[in-house]
């Protein structure tokens, strides 16, 4: 089995505008959930979320593109520029051997909403198509491929909240299958009114910053941002003297085949994803030290995920650390898998367990070692990152210390 490592990381998220700053904020136990300003939340049950404070496109981008690209495109581009600079591939990889696979769910929806509003209210007679060309969720990968010269295989996955976890999994397969020498993989998501109103209508949003695994948890907080990693084989990384942040060992993916939005009550799909991931990684449950949980903060998700973890890990469940970094950056939907993978990667690299920063009264019914407060120093060997999405799909990544 070819070892695949992360040689570059980049992120733009509500907590930080770079990967080093993100690692620092995770250690410090910061929370970025606050009143939203990116759209009007008047009349909604909840009025908070986690926003990226600055969505300015990189100064190097040509003018016409600066006007066309979406907020999600900006996050992806900035995170990818950081990740590629960090990987410092130089001329070691031919452009056609450099792939890109991203995950996302709503693409340029925020601008599409504004365009539709203008036309409906009569402010304009036609759509501003220059503002709509970047609406499809696939636009970010096309932008990054063309602007950054990533001329290898290109793909966008949209599996709701597991999108970018799957993107990392596909990138891993591509390296192992020899389709690319290096792959830029990750996810991006921008807040938009449609999704906020949708979750609000489902009574899934909390009025206070989400509290995953807390006894009093009552819903999630939405967020936005991007995270990008550069993957390549450990052999290639060693040959060119690159630093490895962590290993991407395996992924497991499954469907609940149960309900479009509610998880299976026994967590059957989540169990299947974790078991498939461990089997592909050739690891035993005892080998795992930390799980970065999906942990949205809805009563049902966290209960079912706890049941699933207990089912997979049995007695070992009590000695592995569990946390949800959604308490810090919100639920970033299509970017969540990648942002949480980066949180896990820096935890493995720097030797600490990020906490669930808003957790005050751990839900005893979960039966897990729930990390709270400022996080804790720990030398981790293997970690899982869980991501579950609408449509009933579940993905677990297995990440390891380099």
């Amino acid at each position: 089995m070819t070892r695949v490592v992360v040689t570059g990381v980049g992120t733009v998220n509500p907590l930080a505008r770079s990967a080093p700053a993100f690692a620092e904020a995770l250690r410090a136990g910061s929370c970025a959930i606050a009143p939203l300003t990116v759209f009007d939340t008047t009349g909604f049950r909840s009025r908070i979320g986690a926003e990226v404070p600055d969505a300015t496109p990189p100064a190097t981008l040509p003018g016409p593109l600066r006007r066309r690209i979406s907020r999600a495109d900006v996050f992806a581009l900035r995170a990818a520029i950081e990740a590629l600079a960090d990987a410092d591939l130089g001329r070691t990889v031919a452009p056609e051997r450099l792939g890109i696979v991203l995950g996302g769910t709503t693409g340029g929806m925020l601008r599409a909403e504004a365009c539709l509003r203008e036309r409906m209210t009569g402010a304009r007679r036609r759509y501003r198509h220059s503002a709509l060309v970047a609406t499809p969720v696939s636009a970010s990968a096309d932008l990054l491929a063309t602007v950054l010269g990533l001329a290898g295989p290109r793909l966008t996955l949209s599996t709701a909240c597991s999108s970018s976890a799957n993107a990392l999994g596909v990138a891993l397969d591509w390296i192992r299958l020899g389709y690319a020498d290096a792959v830029v993989a990750g996810g991006t998501e921008s807040l938009c009114a449609t999704v906020f109103a949708g979750f609000n209508s489902l009574h899934a949003l909390s009025r206070t910053p989400c509290r995953p695994f807390d006894r009093r948890r009552d819903g999630l907080s939405l967020g936005e941002g991007a995270a990008i990693v550069v993957l390549e084989s450990a052999e290639r990384a060693a040959r060119r003297g690159a630093r490895s942040h962590a290993e991407v060992r395996a992924y497991g993916t499954s469907a609940d085949a149960h309900h479009l939005t509610a998880p299976h009550p026994d967590g059957a799909g989540a169990v299947l994803a974790m078991r498939r991931a461990l089997a592909q990684a050739r690891l035993e449950p005892e080998d795992v030290d930390y799980i970065n949980a999906h942990g949205t903060g809805t009563p049902l998700n966290d209960a079912v995920e706890s049941v699933a973890i207990t089912a997979v890990f049995g007695a070992a469940a009590r000695r592995l650390a569990v946390s949800s970094t959604k308490a810090a950056v919100g639920h970033t939907l299509g970017a969540a898998g990648a942002i949480e993978a980066v949180a896990t990667i820096v935890a493995l690299r720097d030797g600490f367990v990020p906490s669930t920063v808003t957790l005050e009264e751990p839900d005893e019914a979960c039966g897990l070692d729930l990390v709270r407060g400022q996080g804790r120093p720990a030398r981790l060997r293997w970690a899982l990152s869980n991501s579950y999405g609408f449509g009933g799909n579940n993905t677990t990544l297995v990440l390891g210390r380099a």
């Binding site: 009349g43 593109l65 066309r68 056609e96 769910t105 599409a112 909403e113 539709l116 409906m120 036609r126 759509y127 198509h129 709509l132 499809p136 969720v137 696939s138 636009a139 096309d142 932008l143 491929a145 063309t146 990533l150 001329a151 290898g152 295989p153 290109r154 793909l155 966008t156 996955l157 949209s158 599996t159 799957n166 596909v170 397969d173 591509w174 299958l177 020899g178 389709y179 009114a193 449609t194 109103a197 949708g198 979750f199 609000n200 209508s201 489902l202 993916t253 499954s254 469907a255 609940d256 085949a257 149960h258 309900h259 479009l260 299947l272 999405g389 609408f390 449509g391 009933g392 799909n393």
Partner: protein, 412 residues
């Protein structure tokens, strides 16, 4: 070198403007089209006012009523196609057989009509409909397919613009090659929706483009082509590891040998200019899969969509890809028959497998005067199928953004 998984196509299900199987294939090879008056888009009296809507399709014949009630229209199309493909492949999903089977679907825009309604509700009433919101997630159809058929394997949805169908089939091939599954349903679907119509119209992409006259039609590679006609539909293929198919004695339409990709310089939001790059990388990757121009009797199903720009690109691109056999290799497109939509490539992939299986090509039924700059042997309405059938079918797509992809199907 990459591992090579031998992957075969053992089932096909189609919901399209030409109907379902077997009518879809009979009409496509005859060069018939599914174009008619555009419905539900407030098109107005002046062109463009044509669309290629799905027809001869009753989802109640395929999907149980309890699930059907909750599903959006695109999900109904895709799940119907899944049901047809599973039946066609004689896959036994009972007794836990579905637990290891997955699905990989491509869609460019997903359930865009209900997404638009939600935004309208937001603007007018300040709230979203909790009953329709879950259906607007881009992968709703794959979730419904899993629920309907009990599929607990990988459940992935791919968006890749006009290459969404081909992109899904390519990823499904990867998943089987990587050992993530032995059997996958794959393909895709997209639907006609008002917002897409108005945006494409305002962009001047629809026939007759920008009101510059000429008749409203869809005729890829024609000298007088003047824009695309919006279409919709879904196609699902059953892809299976060859050994798995052999053990269960499945009928095999074609082998999916693999795919090749190349990024051609383009704006991220437009098709590349004709001749933007030689297809060197595609040639190299196809050669690694064992394909060489002129070494057999081949068919190319191009993504040419009757727009002046894309068809000119495809003509030059394919002439270079097929050299020195460009004059001998039959080239066609299905978009004169089914219109243009994100996942049309799922139908093209199905057509590629059927062409290998039957030896017949889809014909360019609308073609009157081939573009004189197009140096290809086109599948004219009266063209004769090769006596010995096809050795290979290449499904070639160039989406906006320049991420070219070519699927390679071959005789099993």
């Amino acid at each position: 070198m990459p591992e090579r998984a031998s992957v075969v196509v053992t089932g096909i299900g189609v919901v399209s403007p030409l109907g379902s199987m077997p009518a879809f294939w009979e009409r496509l090879t005859r060069g018939a089209d599914g174009l008619g008056p555009l419905e539900g888009c407030d098109a107005g009296p002046a062109p463009p006012r044509l669309g290629a809507h799905v027809r001869e399709w009753d989802p109640r014949a395929h999907v149980p009523a309890a699930l059907l009630r909750r599903m959006d229209r695109l999900s109904r199309m895709i799940v119907s196609a899944c049901r047809m493909a599973v039946a066609d492949a004689a896959l036994d999903l009972a007794g836990g057989g579905a637990a290891e089977i997955g699905i990989v679907v491509g869609t460019a825009y997903g359930n865009v009509s209900e997404s638009e309604q939600i935004i309208r509700g937001l603007v007018t009433k300040g709230r979203a409909n909790p009953l329709t919101f879950p259906n607007t997630v881009l992968n709703a159809h794959a979730g419904y397919a899993a629920m309907d058929l009990g599929l607990k394997g990988p459940n992935l949805t791919v968006a890749r613009g006009e290459a969404s169908g081909e992109g899904a089939v390519a990823l499904a091939h990867d998943m089987i090659a990587a050992g993530q599954a032995d059997v996958l349903l794959t393909g895709g679907g997209d639907e006609i929706a008002p917002i897409l119509f108005h945006v494409f119209k305002d962009l001047g992409l629809l026939s007759p483009a920008g009101g510059r006259g000429g008749r409203e039609w869809s005729s890829p590679f024609d000298r007088d082509r003047n824009g695309f006609v919006m279409g919709e539909g879904a196609a699902i293929l059953v892809l299976e590891r060859r050994e798995h198919a052999r053990v269960r004695g499945a009928r095999v339409y074609a082998e999916l040998a693999g795919y090749a990709t190349q990024s051609v310089p383009a704006s991220p939001h437009d098709w590349p200019a004709p001749g933007a790059a030689a297809p060197d990388e595609l040639v190299r990757q196809l050669a690694a899969l064992g394909w060489h121009a002129g070494r057999g009797t081949d068919l190319v199903i191009s993504g040419a969509n009757s727009t002046p720009r894309l068809d000119a690109f495809e003509a030059a691109h394919l002439a270079a890809l097929l050299a020195p056999a460009a004059g001998r290799t039959l080239v066609t497109s299905i978009k004169g028959s089914v219109g243009e939509f994100g996942a049309a490539g799922a139908l093209a992939a199905a057509a590629g497998a059927l062409a290998i299986h039957t030896g017949e090509p889809p014909r360019l039924g609308a073609l009157r005067a081939p573009d004189p700059t197009c140096d290809l042997r086109l599948a004219t309405p009266d063209c004769i199928a090769p006596a010995g059938g096809f050795d290979h079918a290449l499904v070639s797509i160039t989406p906006r953004g320049g991420g070219c992809l070519t699927l390679l199907l071959r005789c099993p």
